[in-house]
Symmetry: C2
Subunit: 233 residues, 2 copies
């Protein structure tokens, strides 16, 4: 039977991972170089290279051109979160999506949001409050500021027709974003809009996005009590 190179590299990946997990090779250790491993495993050097590259991408190995390959001392623990469009998120959970715009008007920007957006306090921005529903139950309440200078056309949109989240994602990709998770006790407005009790613990996502024209939008998303945001592998 002729083994394909892909499965050969995979077998080496597994064996190297096993040695690290079993601590035959310990954190900080320099592992044998590609040529030695190619001889040991009876494969081409390119196959070893491919296997080690995969483990480096996983964060298990640290490869430097001159210093050789070491077992990572303090593996980075990075996790990727995909921020879904709320409609897709609700529909993905098998519920029917709807939304209701509670307020949409030009308002003077408050100081805290101005600081987040690197804009002037009191500047006239679009202020939107929206409730998103799944099967008519409140899913998320959204408090959003939109900067028409960085999102031209926003002042002409009726966000009851298309929700702002979706319109912005489809039209204004960002270059940079600031994002923070926190927990807040529901205030009176949150409680009313999410149809829950005041004081209930809410997962809150604060997010500000920027393009080359400046801050596009800053939003506070508060999820219904009990909501869990899962990280994707």
């Amino acid at each position: 039977m002729i083994e394909k190179p892909a499965s050969k590299a995979q077998a080496i990946t597994s064996e190297v991972r096993r040695r690290i997990v079993d601590r035959e090779w310990r954190q900080g250790d320099r592992i044998p170089d590609e040529a030695e491993l190619a001889v040991e495993f009876g494969v081409a050097r390119a196959t070893v290279n491919k296997a080690l590259q995969l483990l480096a991408e996983e964060g298990l190995l640290d490869r430097k051109r001159r210093a050789g390959t070491h077992v990572t001392v303090n593996p980075a623990r990075k996790t990727t979160l995909t921020i879904p469009i709320v409609r897709e998120q609700v529909e993905g959970a098998g519920m029917e999506y709807s939304h209701r715009v509670v307020a949409q008007k030009l308002s003077p920007l408050p100081a805290d949001i101005a600081a987040r957006m690197a804009l002037t306090e009191g500047a006239a921005l679009i202020h939107l409050r929206t409730v998103h529903y799944g099967d008519s139950r409140p899913f998320q309440v959204e408090d959003r500021w939109i900067n028409p200078e960085a999102a031209p056309g926003a002042e002409l949109i009726d966000f009851q027709r298309i929700n702002a989240n979706e319109w912005l994602v489809r039209n204004f990709p960002w270059l940079r974003n600031d994002m923070a998770f926190s927990a807040e006790n529901a205030n009176a407005r949150d409680a009313r809009l999410l149809e829950t009790r005041q004081g209930a613990a809410l997962l809150v996502l604060q997010r500000t996005t920027f393009n080359d024209l400046g801050a596009i939008t800053s939003v506070r998303l508060a999820f219904h009590p009990g909501y869990q945001m899962l990280a994707t592998p």
Copy 2:
């Protein structure tokens, strides 16, 4: 006045963005090729290329060598979170780190944690409760289960000497992890250990890690009220 190439490219970037925003070019549409746009805008092809490249980096355009340039259909919105070692996190904020193990013993695994770890309910695992402090103020309370089958040696460690978070990260790299963020109202134990009032909203991170031997550990981390977890760009 002689326009600089940089500003020419910028002007083309703005015009292409306007056409997408105004939906003259719609999502999925193939846009004219570089040569045509160079003629239309009266600039060098390299200038058009530069402008389109910027929009591709923003995620607004999708460029493929053979298929040409299309308006992106559904821009991805991925964000990376780095989960720090709690000691480094506290020290990084300029505070002095300390921790206190409140309980460390072998206990029968409850059903909900068993399901998360894909282990049998009632199996004897190490159960740990720890409070982490910054400048003697509670920073985080940790409720952790450790599986000695996947983390051999854990049963011999005094986790008051080295905190479990750090010991596991340094010794047991994981292959796969499940992670979820949520908000919970502090229960009586949380309130006592975090020195806060019962009902305060806490950011909670539930995390289970696995290696090729099975689940290593499952932990509930509850942060002090007001804590914000920032995503790194």
